[in-house]
Amino acid sequence: MIDRRLLTHFDWPVLILILIISCIGVLNLYSATFGEVESHLYAKQILWIGIGLAFALFITVFDYRFYRDFAYIFYGISLVLLIAVLIYSMINPEASRWIKIGPFFIQPAEPAKITIILSFAKYFDRFSKRDGYLLRELIIPFIILLVPSLMVAKQPDLGTAIGFLLIGFSILLFVKIKWKSLVIMIIGGTSIIPFVWHFLMPYQKRRILTFFNPDLDPLGAGYHIIQSKIAIGSGGFLGIKGTQCKLHFLPAQHTDFVFSVLAEEWGLLGGFILLGLYLFLILWGLNISIRSKDRFGAIVAFGVVSMIFWHMIINIGMALGIMPVVGIPLPFMSYGGSAIISMMAGVGLLLNISMRRYIF
């Protein structure tokens, strides 16, 4: 199953990059929650990272083509879990995004990202087309993408739903669709917006407007943004011993606003280093994708890279006040078991594809 050649091709840079980013994440978390009720979270985060890495390595054991056979089954399981969330939230109104299994709170939207990527790769691998896909050939991928997106949007987690769509759309561009199809898609997509808008309740409209313009809600999202900007801005070049985050001025500092904590304490330098690490990781991943030995591998690797890319852009962009305020985690940095383990599963696939590119 695993032979020596595989070990020689093991992609150490990816693993090391992930380890470095995760370590920064744990340190940052420790600092953000020091002396708080949540001060034990960094230890739990280490646990999640450990489990995630073990899972990633486990994934590398089998040839990734093995997962292709199960892609739709994984996808089906994640849909069932998403339905379970919707039902669970009816029983327990406090829960809208997670289900509780034993002592664990699981957010099925996180693993769903991976299963969407696998299903897309399987579909476009089976129906491979060099010169681009026509619109009618994309009906199944649309269904694969829209069903979980709508379910997540219903939770309501608009941010994650948009994340799904961005990942899916990126893969479509990667496998190439016909220009004509692309134009029709864009026109079609934009033209149904006013139609859908018409059917939304006023509070839903307000929520969406606030989503794109936090200033409409200066006491909620808008306040978070200004506090985040103060935290980042006061960090200056080398960072300060910040007060902004410590004193709870910033909500969700261990999940959504981790970048603000980092930028306040480590300044421009710390922020740039982190951005550099992400850039390195993403470019390396892109390389893995285009060099993979088959179409399935290439699409999966690209999907994982686009997942990391979009999460990073949206999360950091939000902290910097240039993106909507959404609950999207910063990969390997934000606290959260479901997110960490799902991201690590993606890394596992990346490593898997990378180390098998010379082996046929």
Partner: protein, 607 residues
């Protein structure tokens, strides 16, 4: 392998555009970080030093409650509330001591307040005391500089324009409790918010509550506001217009002052409540009691029972039964209220003179289950569904019910008690009013309603309540007419039990009722009975007979006979309301049959 290196080359050619896209994405983040940290770094650094951005909430003012003619019954007034911002408190001990000295807030109470709000971020103000006096306000303002973190803000506070008026009806506000906070309907509320806990305030809470606003402010090191960054204006709640007439309500309150009991007046044509009083007036221990004053002991002689007999064909209105003052059944004697008896009575006289013996006999002919069937047809034994919490359904017994509850068979003797509305029967004043309104309006049972319409602060109508018929009473028009003639007789015939309620020139119709609290010995005079053992006095009435504009029920607990205690009250209420309508110029419909109404204005008949 399905795909050779050839397939991969396709992807390799696509590397460049994606690379560029990624780089552009990163460039944005880098430039923005630079912008915030280097270019605007000093500005944010300054704001960060004292964590200078605060949120000040601006509570929305709650909607007003007005009467049917738009007179304000419940309003808001400004109140000065003291808040504490933990983040800005310099010397907590000094502040606590000051609060103790000035506002008599013990450090323990203060701790409790802060503990309850410990989930709030420390920069959000916590309310320490509401509605401080002007003296305290002045003192706080003078010491402002020594006491960073203490702020005084003006908040709207509920003001009940007429102190005791309609207290059962209007309800009151209270701080939301943790049980309510967990309910999904209160998702938008937070700790410390006030919500309606009773009556109209509770039932129309979603309309009355406005939308709170707030503003982001920059403060100095002392916690004083320097400038407002952004804000949302609060939106006041909607105004609720009641069906209640304030003048009539006050009259009713005055009439019941010093007594225990209840008065409800309604427009029989649409079910809208005109006045509603329950005494003893508001005291917190009575919250559970309130509107549905229920009489566990007894009830009125129902004016409608004979009708049932007619509908069932067991007796004709002309049939004469004789009353000797008592009726022997089994080995018990059932008494009539008139010791000497009424002699020969037909249906009309039986109602007019309230002959118990007559109804013992028809009750016996009907049997309890038929009685119960009709009583339920009149809406008795179930809640009227008025929009007030904890309305009680009352009770109409039947043989099946007794079997279920007591596991005993029904005795025919019990039917006799029920036939005159006593025994197990429980009826609320509102239910009885509904029945008399239905008789008055030709048979329609309306949903009793308290609210006329709801308007936005700008006067735009949000919701307007229409009359809702909930059923028809099971009587033919012919029989209704017989009953109405008899009820007219109760007040207007010389031997009628309700003649005290007569108003010259107005066709008042009514029915008396006397509900036993305990079985009284025959010989004891009413004045000699201890107060708490005296009978409850009931009177239901409506006027005018042909085109009724008001129906009213009066219950005076331990008032003795319905005729003596309740009927005069009903009369004055009807008189008052007709005067109100006359002032409004709405009296026209009352002049039915060309009767005079001038006497309404002469002062002498009513005192």
């Amino acid at each position: 392998m399905r795909l050779g290196s050839q397939g991969i080359e396709v992807f390799q050619r696509r590397y460049k555009p994606f690379l560029i896209a990624v780089l552009i994405g990163f460039l944005f983040l880098v430039l923005r970080t630079w912008h915030l940290q280097i270019i605007r770094g000093e500005e944010f650094s300054r704001l960060s030093k004292h964590n200078r951005i605060r949120i000040r909430e601006i509570p929305a003012s709650r909607g007003m409650i007005l009467d049917r003619r738009g007179r304000i019954v419940v309003d808001n007034r400004p109140s000065f509330d003291v808040f504490l911002v933990q983040e800005d408190i310099g010397d907590m001990e000094k502040t606590a001591e000051f609060l103790h000295r000035l506002l008599k807030i013990t450090p323990k109470e203060l701790g409790k307040r802060l503990e309850a709000n410990k989930d709030r971020p420390p920069f959000k103000p916590v309310r320490i005391q509401s509605d401080i006096g002007r003296l305290h306000l002045a003192l706080l303002e003078t010491h402002k500089l020594d006491l960073p973190g203490l702020i005084v803000d003006v908040c709207p506070r509920r003001a009940y324009a007429y102190r005791d008026i309609g207290s059962h009806l209007l309800g009151h506000l209270g701080e939301i409790d943790s049980d309510e906070l967990r309910q999904s309907q209160f998702r938008e509320y937070q700790m410390g918010d006030l919500i309606g806990k009773y009556g109209v305030e509770q039932q129309w809470e979603p309309f009355l509550k406005g939308l709170d606003g707030g503003r982001q402010v920059e403060v100095d090191a002392m916690g004083r506001e320097l400038k407002v960054l952004q804000g949302v204006e609060p939106q006041p709640g909607n105004n609720v217009f009641l069906t209640i007439d304030l003048d009539l309500q006050m009259t009713c309150e005055n009439l019941l002052r010093g007594k225990e009991g209840a008065i409800v007046a309604m427009n029989p044509q649409n079910g809208k409540i005109l006045a509603m009083v329950s005494h003893p007036s508001f005291s917190p221990s009575l919250f559970a009691d309130g509107i549905n004053h229920e009489d566990w002991e007894t009830l009125v002689q129902n004016p409608f029972h004979p009708l049932q007999n007619r509908e069932e064909g067991v007796i004709s209105p002309q049939e004469i039964l004789s009353c000797t003052g008592s009726y022997r059944f089994g080995n018990r004697t059932y008494r009539c209220w008139r010791k000497g008896g009424h002699g020969k009575v037909n249906l009309h006289r039986a109602i007019v003179e309230s002959c118990d013996v007559y109804f013992y006999q028809v009750g016996q002919r009907l049997g309890i289950d038929t009685l119960a069937k009709y009583a339920k047809g009149f809406g008795l034994g179930k809640a009227t569904k008025i929009s007030l919490s904890d309305e009680k359904p009352g009770l109409i017994p039947c043989s099946e019910w007794k079997k279920k509850v007591y596991d005993e068979v029904w005795y025919e003797g019990e039917t006799l008690s029920c036939a005159i509305g006593q025994g197990y029967i429980l009826v609320t004043p509102l239910q009885l009013l509904n029945v008399s309104s239905a008789i008055a309006n030709g048979g329609i049972l309306y949903l009793p309603q308290l609210v006329e319409r709801i308007e936005r602060a700008n006067g735009k109508v949000v919701k307007s309540y229409q009359p809702i018929p909930r059923g028809k009473i099971p009587l033919s028009q012919e029989n209704l007419l017989i009953i109405r003639e008899a009820l007219y007789g109760v007040v207007n015939e010389d031997r009628g039990t309700g003649r005290v309620a007569r108003i010259k020139g107005v066709t008042v119709s009514g029915k008396t009722g006397t509900a036993q609290v305990i079985r009284l010995k025959e010989e004891v005079k009413e004045e000699e009975t201890p107060y708490e053992h005296r009978d409850h006095a009931w009177f239901v009435a409506y006027a005018p007979m042909d085109n009724p504009v008001i129906s009213v029920v009066v219950l005076v607990e331990h008032g003795g006979h319905g005729a003596s205690a309740s009927a005069p009250i009903a009369r004055r209420i009807i008189h008052k309301y007709l005067n109100i309508l006359k002032e409004e110029g709405n009296l026209k419909p009352i002049i039915a049959r060309g009767r005079e109404v001038d006497s309404l204005n002469s002062r002498s008949p009513i005192r």
